[in-house]
Symmetry: C2
Subunit: 365 residues, 2 copies
Amino acid sequence: MLYALIMAGGIGSRFWPKSRVSQPKQFLSFFENKTLLQTTIDRIRPIIPVERILISTNSDYVAFVKEQIPDLPGENIIGEPVARNTAPCIAFASALIHYRDPDSTLIVLPSDHYIRNDEAFRKDLQTCVRLAMDGGKLVTIGITPTRPETGYGYIQFNDNTQISDEDYNAYPVKTFAEKPDVQTALKFLQSGDFLWNSGMFIWNTRVILREIEEHMPVLHHQVELFSQDLKKHNGEVRRDILDSVYHSCFSVSIDYGIMEKSDNVLVLPSHFDWSDLGSWMAIYELLNDEANEEGNILNSERAITVRSQNCFIQSESSKLITLVGLQGIGVIETEDALLICKLDNSQHVKEVYEQLKGETFGKYG
Amino acid sequence: MLYALIMAGGIGSRFWPKSRVSQPKQFLSFFENKTLLQTTIDRIRPIIPVERILISTNSDYVAFVKEQIPDLPGENIIGEPVARNTAPCIAFASALIHYRDPDSTLIVLPSDHYIRNDEAFRKDLQTCVRLAMDGGKLVTIGITPTRPETGYGYIQFNDNTQISDEDYNAYPVKTFAEKPDVQTALKFLQSGDFLWNSGMFIWNTRVILREIEEHMPVLHHQVELFSQDLKKHNGEVRRDILDSVYHSCFSVSIDYGIMEKSDNVLVLPSHFDWSDLGSWMAIYELLNDEANEEGNILNSERAITVRSQNCFIQSESSKLITLVGLQGIGVIETEDALLICKLDNSQHVKEVYEQLKGETFGKYG
């Protein structure tokens, strides 16, 4: 059967001050009235019933998940006692799903990305499911790059050996590349055989567990302990064993731990519009329908702009906000904090967060 | 005897949102704990007792003046019923002072300028007083320009006929020039015979009244009515006559009405540092002692800057203010409004004010 794991553990520090430790990005609403997590779940409901959707999150956020996805069975929420990046998260969830259904196929998705064409997205997922089931492959979705983005990882594919039918072309993966500098990103873009790493994975749970056994023996050992405990307690995930195995794990991404090492990986170039919503700039760009003729998006009760273009105001206060002589500036105001940033520098907002962490984290973090 | 007239009628719209119709610039404190008006008065107290200082202001602001200068005699405050620029203001005040002391010499000063060297300033004033008394001249102070400023008026002097003694050089004025464009300002700066118009004037009251009679006959007629009423009521300025004569006046500056037309004008190049405090940029520059090593001046309870230089925060709120990737930006926050401006565009802040005037002036103006 087909399952999904939604990874919802992040804190989204680049959306400070709207995102906080107490209110991470995936639980916030940037578009319409749904949070990113709700949108992510609703996007896959047509192909996977909620009974087969699992959400992994920080144990502090379990209440958020229950509140936002009320029909999700409680036993489908994995509350991580400590953040250990994606490899442990995926490994334990895979073991749990594999226990429930030994022949399960699993779709792993981030909880906080933006996708415009839901139907095209679901069609791509179903293609990946077929590839994963047919060939026992680790399948990932790559996004066709549109600019020399330095904020994303890249996937290079082997275009000599495409695997296609009438609907799609998929490719064996040659390498996973970390976030490049601008020069390298330009080369990647021009080469034609690089895709953006979307962080979406599709595989049979038996296959990924075997890959973990092969490439991550320490993690495999913890997964074994976890699986034995599951069996002993009829599939119940017990708090103390979860605490124990999580704390024993290294913090490693699935990309680094498995995908880069395995020679069993396929990538499907995507057929949908995508953004990882990595910064306020990304939000500004996606809201471009709302921009006025000067390119300003003014989401506040009262705003006046003078000689200002391509600015973005997002304010919860009733204060009059005025911009004079500004280009490409973002103004994000919450009840207790005000961020003003050059939008094309908005990836550095996380440095504010880092400073706060060392100081009055409790109040503003 | 020596008198002073301080003109305090302006609304200072370029300091919105800190300055409001209800709280104009001259009644605000930008430096230390004194308001600009208080500083202006204190600067001349060593040479003129407060009994001989008059303040002209909008009638709505008389209470501000009384509150800020409590030892100023009430009969020394002229509450203008309507703004009519500087010529009527100076004419009626001169008539009042002339009534009190027919041989009076008058120093006319703006209430909202910045001067760094008070002693040098007073010495220049005393030089001007001497020039005004000796020759029956209209004397003005010109500021030696340090940059091709387009926000000031200029005074061109005749450097062939200097009037000097061991302490000073003064010059007959050739022309008064309006605010120039950049090209013209550059020419003015390079010529060496242009000074900035400081709006400070020194003359015998009999002389200025005679000049008004010669160059502004309509205003002269109103001054005559005013003076007759003064005589009739033993020097009391009656509300209804002031209302009547003010409303009958044209709105004209003393520069345009008298100074440009008279051939009896001397200018003394100043020996003090001066700014007309025309914009937030001017405040930022004058506060440069307070700037940190990145050139940021952070006057708020709590601020964090990341990759930001030469910015200026002035906030009354307890909100955490954070700047990311900004250069030369001013952030002015009051209880009900937030201004974010490029500092070198801060002269355009008055355009916000103009927009408000047409809209919800009552609330934010």
